[in-house]
Symmetry: C2
Subunit: 418 residues, 2 copies
């Protein structure tokens, strides 16, 4: 029995077929998926999942945010279930894997247990969290953040899309406003399998990332004020060029982030030069800046270093470089015991694992404050996501699902094993 359990494997072909089949709900001509939260396409895939749950005999519940719970009973129904969860909604021009893999791999885990007639000690619950993407209704991670108590039901349900339709109305319309109150369910643990949405695993030729934290973030608006003047008649030493000052600042941000690599990143994504004329020395720059780091103290140190660089460059060049923090979010450390269980399961399956921090937001990051949680990453092609070209291999999806399976089994316990 020990050997049968340790050799247990998901049906990779069935998982892949399910990924490809459900991609028709909102499928685009370019091979992507457009399945906005609580849209008709979302209703279709939700109905499909509900049908799978009912035909397999799982218990099925929906809460007032539309979060769907597909639960396979355990031997000890008094134990809190082990959750697996992600989301089935996509970006407007999204791919077949972001979120979807985590839900369908969870379904494959349940099917595999059924096929092998394995009874777990604790129940196992697959969750489809509502509106992770935030593309139709902002903000994202909506279902999971309400579940975690970070966002109120009232706030979330009153958010509106571009046509003025509220989340509550959209839930009603597709028939997914459940009676259960989001956040009332208790879970012993939650694991989310997800594509990495970055290039790290692929670059190191690895298949399994064990995610032990999510980066904290600090977002800024910034400006540089110099002096606009004639590009032909103003010698170099009499310039107060806002753009060369900003270039220096930009390289300082890069240096600060590199010194915190790989856990820290820093990015300037937007910069607008004023007046923006070919033969006028720039007098101003408006820009965005963001830092992310898995360690809160180091994130604060990045902030301090950026502020010091702004001051130093301002003084050195006779300009004014200013940054204003407009939003921040603390790093999240996933539950070490869940991280260890995932890591051990992956290693038993023969994988070399990489400890990673998630740079993007996920349902697991929201839920982590109320449920012991961690994540599994698998590679995606060229690190591309939020794009119809998003891709992952059957081999890697299968590997991720197997790590999910054995991690969940390790957490749930199996009758007659320990």
């Amino acid at each position: 029995m020990a050997s049968r359990l340790s050799n247990l494997s998901v049906d990779g072909e069935r998982l892949w077929q399910t990924l490809m089949d459900t991609a028709r709900f909102g499928g685009t001509p370019k091979g992507g998926v457009r399945r906005l939260a609580l849209s008709d396409e979302d209703r279709q895939v939700r109905n499909w999942l509900a049908d799978q749950a009912k035909s397999a005999g799982y218990t099925f519940g929906v809460d007032d945010l539309g979060n769907m719970y597909v639960q396979r009973p355990g031997r000890d129904q008094t134990r809190d279930p082990i959750a697996m969860g992600s989301h089935l909604d996509t970006q407007p021009t999204g791919g077949k894997f972001d979120g979807v893999l985590g839900v369908l791999a969870g379904l494959e885990v349940l099917r595999t247990l059924d096929d092998a007639k394995i009874e777990t000690d604790a129940p196992i619950c697959l969750v489809n969290w509502t509106n992770e993407e935030g593309a139709r209704f902002a903000p994202g991670e909506m279902g999971s953040e309400v579940f975690a108590g970070d966002v109120t039901h009232e706030f979330a349900l009153s958010r509106k899309d571009a046509d003025g339709i509220s989340v509550a109305e959209a839930l009603q319309r597709i028939g997914y406003g459940g009676n259960e109150r989001a956040g009332e369910r208790r879970f012993a643990a939650m694991i989310e399998l997800h594509i990495e949405q970055g290039p790290v695993l692929e670059s190191q030729n690895l298949v399994i990332g064990v995610v032990d934290a999510a980066k904290g973030q600090m977002w800024y608006n910034g400006s540089v004020l110099g002096r606009e003047s004639h590009a032909g008649t103003t010698p170099m030493d009499l310039r107060r060029d806002a753009f060369t000052a900003f270039s220096e600042f930009s390289l300082e941000i890069e240096r600060i982030a590199r010194s915190e690599a790989p856990a820290g990143v820093g990015t300037i994504g937007v910069a607008t030069i004023g007046p923006g004329a070919r033969n006028t020395i720039p007098g101003s720059v408006e820009f965005s800046l963001e830092f992310r780091h898995s360690n809160g103290e180091r994130l604060a140190a990045m902030h301090d270093a950026a502020a010091a660089a702004a001051e130093r460059i301002s003084a050195g060049r006779g300009v004014s470089v200013r940054i204003e923090r407009i939003w921040q979010k603390a790093p999240v450390a996933f539950a070490p015991q869940i991280v260890e269980i995932i890591d051990a399961a992956a290693k038993r399956l023969g994988h070399q694992t990489l400890r990673m921090t998630s740079g993007a937001g996920h349902d697991a990051v929201a839920v982590a404050s109320v449920v012991p949680t961690a994540m599994i990453f698998v590679p995606c092609k060229d690190g591309i996501s939020h794009n119809e070209a998003e891709n992952a291999t059957p081999r890697d999806c299968t590997a991720g699902a197997n790590v999910l399976l054995h991690s969940v089994l390790g957490l749930s316990g199996v009758h007659g094993h320990d």
Copy 2:
């Protein structure tokens, strides 16, 4: 007589009054001047100048480009005249001094010679060059470039403004299409007095700049191509950030230009980041670049250094930095003998002089290819020009006019003096 000549001075108050009086032709509420080439306001100031010429008994001519020639006879009418020239047209929101000072100081020189009853050996000719600004009809330096043979009559006369009115039609309409063919007149020398339009004289607390050259220029379009990716999930070492690469390039351009200071300058005035989203690493930058240098070889060296920097940064960062030269103009060296005469005149008047190169275009730069030419600069407040706030002091305008007076006298010769 020697003493009377060497002590000769323009009437600074009259000059200033004339500057202020003529500023009413196109005067703006903010104290600037809007006097577009060949407009009604231009006609008004031209008519005023023609009236001054006629009432003083000067000979008066207009060529087919509308260039106006106000000539005071010399003792030896077979000698080529000494020319003083600049322009009376302005930018749409221009000031009272750019161009205007050179013409009105020339008029003041003629008036001063009249008052002192001085007969010069060579005739002296004041020129008002047509459409230096190029604001209504592009390109600028139109009258002087046709005079120099750099631009054909046909090309210039067929240029149209935004309303479809050609230069030929506009000349006809204001009555300044003359019978004389531009370029037929011969001059022994040409001197243009102009405000600096830059901050150098003011910063060194000097009054007289002796301009011995005009910078050559190279203009470029450029691009950086990197890889657009997620700001949260892409570690620093796997980025191909087009903007940090461009920041490095921008500082290299600054370094190259600083190493050629003060004769060389380099400016990036335009830069547009793609896609320009807060949490996306920039995948592309489109930008402008220009170099100016008074020495053609050094200008070419700046080009080579920029091309090498683009290549080095491309290789070092896995991006593609490209620059494409879209326009160039060789430096112009003014006539050394004219430069020396100006310098000597200024020093005799007690000025510490600064040898300068013009970073902007001027009628003198165009004319220099066919007439021995040089320029005199006087300071303008904060280096500001092409702006209604453009300003210069009566003291500096007077000083400039006196240097012009004594330079012209040195070139024309005065009967009975040597």
